[in-house]
Every structure is written in C-alpha cells, then in structure tokens.
Amino acid sequence: MVSGKGGTGKTTVAAALALALAREGRRTLLVEVEGRQGLAQLFGAEALPYEERKIAVAPGGGEVFALAIDAERALLDYLQMFYKLGSAGRALKKLGAIDFATTIAPGLRDVLLTGKACEAVRRKDKTGRFVYDHVIMDAPPTGRITRFLNVNDEVAGLARFGPIHNQAQAVMKVLKSPETAVHLVTLLEEMPVQETADGIAELREAGLPVGRVVVNMVRPHHLDEDTLRAAAGDHRAGVAQALSRAGLGGSRRGGLAERLVDPLVAQAAEHAGRVELERTQRAVLNGLDVPAYELPLLGTGMDLAGLYALAKDLRKQTVAE
C-alpha cells in the first residue's frame, strides 16, 4: 500500500516500486483505486480499463501489470462470482442499488476496492504458484488511509453476519498480516511530515503494518551554509568579478555582472532556508523510528525515463537491506 499526502507523488512512487519489485522475471500488479487514471498518464498508456493489463517490462525481464479498480464493476463481479447473479445484478443496477452500494453505503466502496486487491494477492495459477509476486496499491491519501484499510473491521461490525461480514473479515486478515506493508510518501516539508507522523500513529493504533517512509523529491544541496554566508557577506565584489571573468558582463556598479549578484545571493539564501527546513524535517522523520527510502527530485520533471530511474534507485535501496 502506497499512501501519502496529496502532491507528494504517491502514484509515481507506487509505480516505481512496482517496477523495482518486478526484478528477475517476477510479476507485479499495480492497482489504482481513485479513478484518476494517474497510472495511464504516468506510463503514457491509454486509459486503463477494468482489466489487468501489462503496462511495462522491468529491466531484467520482470513484468508490471496495472489495474484501475472500479467499485461498481468490482461489485458486479463479486456478485457474479459468489451468487451467479447475472440478470439480478443488472436489475439491482437499474434500481440504483449498485450506485447506493458504491457511493452512499458506508464503506462498501472501500471494502470492494481492498477486497479486489486481496483477491489478486491470493490468486494462484494452475501450478499453484501465485500469479503476482507483489501487488502494489496506489492507495488513498494519508489522511484517509487508516479509515480506508480499516473499513473492513467497521463493516464486519455493521454487517454482523452473512457474506459481506465474512468477506470483510477475510480482507482484514490479509491487510493486518506481515504480508502487507503500508508505505507513506512524504516530502521534506512541514505539513507532509506532520501528516506522515499522524498517519503512522493511526496505523499503529489500528494494528496495521507500517512499512517505510519514502522521502520523495529530495533536492541536491549545492552550497553549504557557510559558503552562502561568505557569498552574501564580504565576497560580493569578488562574486561580481568572478561573474565578469566568466563572461557575464561588467563587474562595476551597475554592470551586467554586478546586477546579477543580488538576485543570485537572494536565491542562494532562499536555498539555504530550504536546506535548513529540510534538515529539521529530516530530524522529525528520524524520530518516527520507521526506516526510510529516499528518492531524488528529477530536475526535468516526471516522465517514463525518470520513472525507470526512480525504480532503479529504489531497487538499489531494497536490495541493500
């Protein structure tokens, strides 16, 4: 399960993780549950249907499949699978019962989504081998993840008997087992780090297995603070001269190079402030006592090549353990 505050890149991290785990001929399934078609965008594929499709080949021959789970289709599937309700299912749909079940009824939608993922986890082929070595879910954001995963407990409490009760219990067993890990993606910024800390506390309280913190978009640090102080302090004239030597104009007051000094130093000061902030946030993360992976910020933006680079990075970090 890959969760994280909005904007931290959880979809990207989930995809990179699926690629990283698909090593040496292994097969992974990447599951999307929020209907945003973020995976298709990321892989430059057409909108994913409700069907498991090979979306990428990992270096070394592994395969990544993807599935965008649609709650309504999952419910009809489920009805078909357990009750052979072909036409009755359609009638239910016509009545609005399916709409009710997937959008209004408390938690049923989440039960269906987690249920479908668990089915993929447990599925075996004819030889008795698991079809997927790993199932990775691009899960709802940190603020909702505990509720999302724990919904089966809640539903099992609401529906005290019957098939929904049993299904919810079975799903909960998988989710709380050591086979599951909930990874939380964060940035080195205050609010995402705070949400990560809150998320970990909630997951632990609910007895759900916390995996890793994935620190995403880590920036390179070009200059240390002392250097910056030096630049901002007594070296201004020197910096102007250096800029001029490098061919960027005159270093006298008002010269092209001289006019660059102030904005460049201001940018550097902003950078220093950010480095300091990141240091503080890193300390907070270290205090959470959850092992972390780190992924770099890709300067050119996120594309398929970048995704493979992140996967390679993750693979190195997972192998190193």
């Binding site: 909005g6 904007g7 931290t8 945003r36 973020g38 009750y83 309700l85 009755a88 009638a91 009545l95 609005g96 019962a97 709409d99 009710f100 959008t103 209004i104 408390p106 938690g107 939608r109 989440d110 603020g143 509720r147 609401l158 529906a159 005290r160 008997f161 019957g162 098939p163 009760h165 910024e189 205050e190 609010m191 070009h222 200059l223 240390d224 002392d226 250097t227 030096a230 630049a231 070296h235 020197g238 910096v239 001269q241 250096a242 800029l243 030597r245 490098a246 061919g247 960027l248 904005p263 460049l264 201001a266 940018q267 550097a268 902003e270 950078h271 902030l277 300067g299 050119t300 933006g301």
Partner: protein
C-alpha cells in the same frame, strides 16, 4: 485593481485581479477548489485574512480534517461554529473561521427536522452512525449543507469555502447530486417496500419483484444490516423532502452571480489536469469561474540569465580552478576550509585535518600566489570562483524549474485561454501564522511571481 482582468499579451493569460474580487460587495461566496496538496486551505485562509483587512466581514469555512487551517491561522480551537480571528480586520472588516465537523452537522440536521423520538432513533441507528462519521461523500454533502446554513444566517458579507481533499475536485459538485438521486431513487422505495408498496392491487407484479429483491439484498448484506438500513430509511423518510430541497437550493446558490469559484492548482501536470476538468465542468454547470490560482510558482530576479549561460559560466569558473590548482578537488576542499572559517594562513591547531589542509594550501601557495593580482589573494579568488560557480548552478536549476512550470502552465492556458490566472510565488517555507497568510495574500493580489 481598477479592472477585473488585465490582458498582458497574447502569450500570457489574463491576470486575475484578486483585490477587485474581494472588494466587490457583490461577491458573497468564494469557493476554492482543486486537487489535494495544492494549497487550497492556505489560499482560502489567505483570502479571508486579506478580505478582512480590506473591510469585508468574512468567514472562512474549512473542511479538511487535518486541521490545517487551524495550524495556518495559529489557532486550534476551530469547531463547528465560526470563531473570530483576532487582530486581522481593518476598516471595519472582521475574519471568522470555522472547521466543518461533519458528524455534528449531520446530527444537527436530523435534530432540526425530526421530532425528538424519531431523531433519537436515527441518531442511534448503527447505519446512520457509520454514514455520518464520514465515508465517501459525506464530507461533501455536509460542506454544502454548512455553506447553505452560513449563507442563510446572513451574518457575513463574504463566505470563503475550502473544499474537501477529495480524490477529485469534482466530487464537491457531484456528491450532493448523488445523495439527491439516491433519495429520490427507486432503491429507497425497494428498501421500504414491505411498508409502502404492499397492499396496492395494481402494484402486485412490481411487489413480487421487489420482495424478491429485498430477499437478495438480505442474503447479501445479512439480515441485520438490511434491517438497520430499512429502519434508517424509514426514519429518515419524513426528512427526505427537506434534504432534497436544501441540496437543490445550495446548488442554485453556487450558480448565482454572487458566487465566484477559484480553481487552485500548483504548476504540476496532475494538479493542472484536475484544474482543467474542473474549469470545463463549471462551464457545463453554468457556475461562475473567477479564475485560476496557481500556487508555488517560482520566479527569479535574474531571469535575463538563462540556465545554459549560467551553467557554461559555472563550468568556466570551475575549470579555472582546476587549471590553477592541479586538482579541482583540492580547490573545493580549500574553499570549504576557507568558508568554514579555517584560515589557510593561520592554522590554529595541530590536528591531523588542519595539518593536511595546511599542507595542501601550502602547495597551492607555491604554485599560484604569483599569479594573484590586485588586493585579492589567489586562494580568495579561487574560493570566490567556487562560490560563484555554486550560485550559478543554483540559478541554472531555478531557471529549469521556471521553464518546466511555464510549459505546464502554458498547456493549461492554451486549452483555456479565457481563464484569468493569479500566480503566487513560492515561499521557501511552510505558512503557519497570520504574517505568512498576509504575505500569501499580497502575492495573490500581485498575481505574478516576484523575483527570487
């Protein structure tokens, strides 16, 4: 501030005049929507602070359970009723802020619309308790409800609404309709079939179908859950009309001229894609879009210097160090030692590190001291070159970010050239006090990212 929209040129989108929107007494509701993590809550709070500072009596409704507004306004006593935020208003303006408590809002509706005994039955129903505690969609319904209540009270002349952190910004518009269609739907009647449809002769055929259906439902959900749902639906029955009317009224309120939607996004592909969906949807619903707030946009005071030239210049300076120095690494180490305050000429201690540094610097002095001219010593010049190269690399990176953000923005504006845009310069840190919100408000009003 004199016009709503400034057209800057063909390539740049029209600029959203935020102050004019806030100052216009006709503006009664501002809805901030957009995907998660783009700074919606901060934008809503900053607009509230700025409006109050410009004489409006404003209230900010936030819905986010992470209590981010509370954090960013430096108060944590936000609850389901608006509270005054101190020392914000000017010129008779005031700011009130509240956080939506969806369960309490739902409970209040039940209590207001059902008599005592029936209300108690609903509140105690397990199905209701789960529904009201916030599963998919409840937040959106209750946000709409609360907005309607605040508007009806007429205590404020401007209501600023933050929207729930939904998977999609569209949920805010869709969820109330879904509730409406559910309440009007046949399914409700099926659930109540035993009580309602039975006995009518002409409905015999339908009745058979329906009891078969409830049989199926009972098999699926388990009899106890079905019974809970049925009891809930029966108890709510009298309230349904009220629900529907209120949801419709709030929806119409959103279409009224006094409402302005601000779509909030960050200059990233995902966020702007959501923003584009939302813009299209608002047009389809004839809801008034004021413009796009693009948060966390980077700028540079030195944007006349391109990334390419900055990098070339940085390499130029670094090469100079290598030539003078035999090894670039030694130069970097010297620079670091110098910057850290370890003066090369006056080593203070005999520690191994200091000794090594001194040795290297000594070597360098022999090779390079004669080339130094003017008042700078040669190692100072090297240090400055290294620092300057660092500044240039940092600048190149900034220019690349700016170029990427501009491409992403242009993709949006070429699709929707009519949408006015306010760009808000990125702050180096997080905002969690009123001063920070004021700074954001100023940047919002300026509408273009300032220099670095």
């Amino acid at each position: 501030m004199s016009e709503g929209v400034d057209t800057v040129g063909l390539d740049t989108p029209p600029r959203l005049a935020v102050d004019r929107l806030l100052d216009d007494p006709e503006t009664r509701i501002i809805v901030c929507c957009g995907s998660g993590g783009v700074g919606k809550t901060t934008t809503a709070a900053a607009l509230g602070v700025r409006a109050a500072g410009r004489g409006r009596k404003a209230v900010v409704l936030t819905i986010d359970p992470a209590r981010r507004l509370a954090q960013s306004m430096g108060i944590d006593s936000l609850d389901n009723t608006p509270r005054k935020v101190d020392s914000v208003g000017a010129d008779g303006g005031e700011l009130h802020a509240m956080m939506l408590d969806m369960k309490r809002t739902f409970d209040e509706i039940v209590e207001a619309h059902a008599d005592g005994e029936r209300a108690q039955a609903i509140l105690a129903n397990p199905f209701y308790q789960s529904l009201s505690a916030g599963f998919a969609g409840t937040q959106e319904y209750m946000a709409m409800e609360k907005l309607g209540q605040l508007r009806a009270r007429d205590d404020w002349d401007l209501i600023i609404v933050d929207t729930p952190p939904s998977r999609s910004a569209l949920d805010f518009l869709d969820a109330p309709k879904r509730l409406g269609s559910f309440l009007d739907g046949k399914f409700i009647r099926v659930l109540m079939a035993p009580a309602k449809v039975g006995g009518r002769a002409g409905m015999k055929f339908l009745n058979v179908g329906m009891s078969m259906m409830t049989g199926t439902l009972s098999k699926l959900m388990g009899a106890s859950l079905l019974k809970d749902v049925q009891t809930f639906v029966a108890a709510m029955d009298t309230m349904f009309g009220g629900f529907r009317t209120r949801a419709d009224a709030t929806f119409r309120l959103l279409q009224a001229p006094g409402t302005a939607f601000l779509v909030v996004a960050a200059p990233e592909p995902d966020a702007l894609r959501e923003a584009a969906y939302f813009v299209e949807r608002l047009a389809a619903e004839s809801m008034p879009l004021a413009g796009l707030v693009l948060n966390r946009v980077h700028g540079s005071g030195a944007d006349q210097l391109s990334a390419e030239r900055a990098l070339a210049a940085a390499e130029n300076l670094e090469e100079g160090c290598i030539v003078d120095q035999e090894s670039g690494k030694a130069g970097l180490r010297d620079a670091a030692a110098e910057a850290a305050g370890t003066s090369a000429e006056t080593p203070e201690t005999g520690s191994p590190t200091a000794a090594r540094d001194t040795a290297e610097v000594d070597t360098y002095d022999e090779d390079g001291a004669h080339q130094a001219d003017g008042t700078d010593t040669a190692d100072d010049a090297i240090t400055v070159d290294v620092i300057t190269a660092g500044l240039l690399r940092l600048h190149a990176e900034r220019m690349q970010v700016i170029a990427r953000e501009r491409r992403t923005r242009d993709r949006f504006t070429s699709l929707h050239p009519e949408v006015a845009v306010a760009e808000v310069a990125a702050l180096p840190g997080d905002v969690h006090d009123l001063a920070g919100l004021r700074a954001i408000g100023e940047r919002l009003a300026a509408g273009v990212p300032a220099g670095a």
